[in-house]
Amino acid sequence: MKLLGKLDWSAIPFDQPIPLAAGALVIVVILGVVALIFAKGWAPYIWNEWICSVDHKRIGVMYCSLAMVMLVRGFIDALMMRTQQSVAFHSGGYLPPEHYDQIFSAHGTIMIFFVAMPFVIGLMNFVVPLQLGVRDVAFPTLNSVALWLTAAGVLLVNMSLVVGEFSRVGWLPYPPLSELTYSPGVGVDYYCWALEISGIGTLAGGINLVTTILKMRAPGLSYTRMPIFCWTALASNLMIIAAFPVLTATLAMLLLDRYLGFHFFTNTMGGNQMMFMNLIWIWGHPEVYILVLPAFGVYSEVVSTFSGKPLFGYRSMIVATMAICIISFLVWLHHFFTMGPGGDVNGVFGIASMIIAVPTGVKIFNWLFTMYGGTVRFRVPMLWSIAFMITFVIGGMTGVMLAIPPADFILHNNLFLVAHFHNVIIPGVLFAAFAGYVYWFPKAFGFKLDEGWGKAAFWFWVIGFYLAFMPLYVMGLEGMPRRMQSYDVPQWQPWAHVATVGALSIMCGIACMVIQLVVSIRNREQLRDDYGDPWDGRTLEWITPSPPPEFNFAVMPNVTGEEAYWGLKEAAREQQRITRPVPEYEDLEMPRNSPTGFVCAFFAVMMGFALIWHIWWLLVLGFIGAYATLVVFAWRDLHERIIPKEEVARIDLENRARRNLALQEGRV
């Protein structure tokens, strides 16, 4: 028996300079950051206040930061693919096939699971409790566990860069290619275990947010007064609860095939690969709405704020959201029209797919009517929203085209499809994440982001997007299949060049965002948001100071109508002071910070790694560790920390004073 299972020196790709150099660079950067943290004496602060934090705001910030870092990783993969396709006409390019295959698989996996998901979940975590007027989520420690399990998945995927290899079978591991017979390496195992672990985190987060929204709203905040972002968060998390177990179970079946010789999806012994496609898309289609619904929520908030009007058709927005929540479980077959379910089945699912465009259209019109007659302020979040509306409609229309089964027979699996889904997911999710990032950044950190660099980033991104993806529609119509490492058709190459230029423009956009962050931190005093409402907002998060105190609200706000905060603000503006009387402050109990989440994730990584490399003693060790963590947590005596009322009063009175000053000076 080998002590390290399948692991030996051959796992390290010494012969492949690109991953090795990239991995080395990442390791150096991480070590550098860790060294800096220790040298500066920040370690206790980082550990106590961030890693162990169970504060939903900090957890939200960490989710978003994780997503942004992984966006860079995913984008580097994209840039490599784009440049490869530019040069790979009649030649092998610079990326050998087995490497290219890992790149598109890693790109897709990372972008969906470790960029889009954590970004959206991070925004929901940060914003939802503030908008609901509550002090924390329902299960704060579980929230931290969810975050760190996601991070565990990220770590495993990135580990595969230098230890072993990543999956080569695409962002969804379709069997029989992903079965042991055809993918004997550890790549698919890395993929599966990373997603099993982070999937549990996602599910836990979903349960947490649904409970929070259903059970913990401020007094008076009935369902029909809830901000639309909370509604979309509710729908999205309900879908997480319904859909993610399907993903977990499907990947578990694939793992059983690979590890224990089962035959769920094999070619032989009664296995059925088509069942995999069926199951994975039962999760996969809802997944896109899990991502896009909260994004729609962000746009709703942004459009209403920057148009200075209540959201048009608030109730129709709720209905549309919940309709999408259900219909999105009715369309999954459109991802495998061509697999041969036949005309009847294809027809039903094709029509159901087109019907989803109706509630989505309702939303678009609602945003347009919200802008109509308003005084639109073209600040950065609003720019992202407008770019979204235009671009997303194009992507939606190509989606309806693909929902026509006969058309799909020609377009599926080629670059038209790739263009379509980037055309919906980038404006639909990424732009919303950016809009939300700029919009809520001052709430999180107390100062705004630089406007000029934000606009520069916006233009580079949007122009880059069109340049990078419109050519893909043409290439698709010219018949170029997706996932091509090299090709021999001359007509495709010019378009590939255009797409590369687009990717380079996006690269400039990302660079602008980095610069924007640095510049804003430098100029934070000028950009300071001193009373908590920088955009003239309408929902409850803007009643808190920026950044909000740990307990968010010194007293629970009492909600008496839609747009809870706007009404209060109107009254305050009239009288030029806060109209709510100074409350009787009370001691507040807040959950204690806890290393449970981080420790859990540590053992989860250990177990994942052990499973991937068949190191069974390590698996046992990891399991014992994880179980011990559970026991320690379950038997803890101290759950909460008291914030004395004097402290609460001090913080709140100071904030009231600042806001009163702003009101007197007419700045609010």
């Binding site: 999954w332 009847d344 109990e589």
Partner: protein, 137 residues
């Protein structure tokens, strides 16, 4: 999640809304007794399903049905005794959530069966017969 939580619960009970697991005085599902009872019934049903699978007392082709019935009963027991689903007015959220869950499960199971049957038809036209029309794409 303890003290201020129970305060919250009191507050929410007034508001007419209770989370699963919140123990309310005098309610049918409160107390450990019901957990023990639930556990006993659940174990009983489990044993019954093992017995059904092996027995000759039941008409062979009906065993599948019997197992399915026992499984549904098992779910019901879990919902009532462990997840505290009741029909009380304070349970609207839970019932709605359950309805959503059942809808999705229904869609997934029957949708999959429908799809897979058609897929199999296209895969394996029975020898000697023309391929079925609906699978002819």
């Amino acid at each position: 999640m303890t003290d201020h939580h129970s305060e919250d619960i009191a507050h929410r009970v007034e508001g007419g809304d209770v989370a699963p697991g919140d123990v309310i005085h005098g309610e049918f599902t409160a107390g450990w007794r019901t957990y023990v009872l639930g556990l006993a019934i659940a174990i009983g049903l489990t044993i019954a399903s093992f017995w059904v699978a092996q027995t000759h007392l039941i008409y062979g082709p009906a065993i599948d049905m019997a197992l399915a019935t026992l499984a549904v009963a098992q779910m019901g027991i879990h919902l009532i005794f462990f997840l505290h689903i009741t029909t009380g007015p304070d349970n609207t959220n839970n019932v709605l959530a359950l309805a959503f869950g059942i809808l999705v499960v229904f869609l997934v199971i029957f949708g999959s069966i429908w799809i897979m049957i058609h897929m199999n038809q296209s895969m394996m036209p029975p020898t000697g017969m023309p391929a079925p029309q609906s699978g002819g794409m």
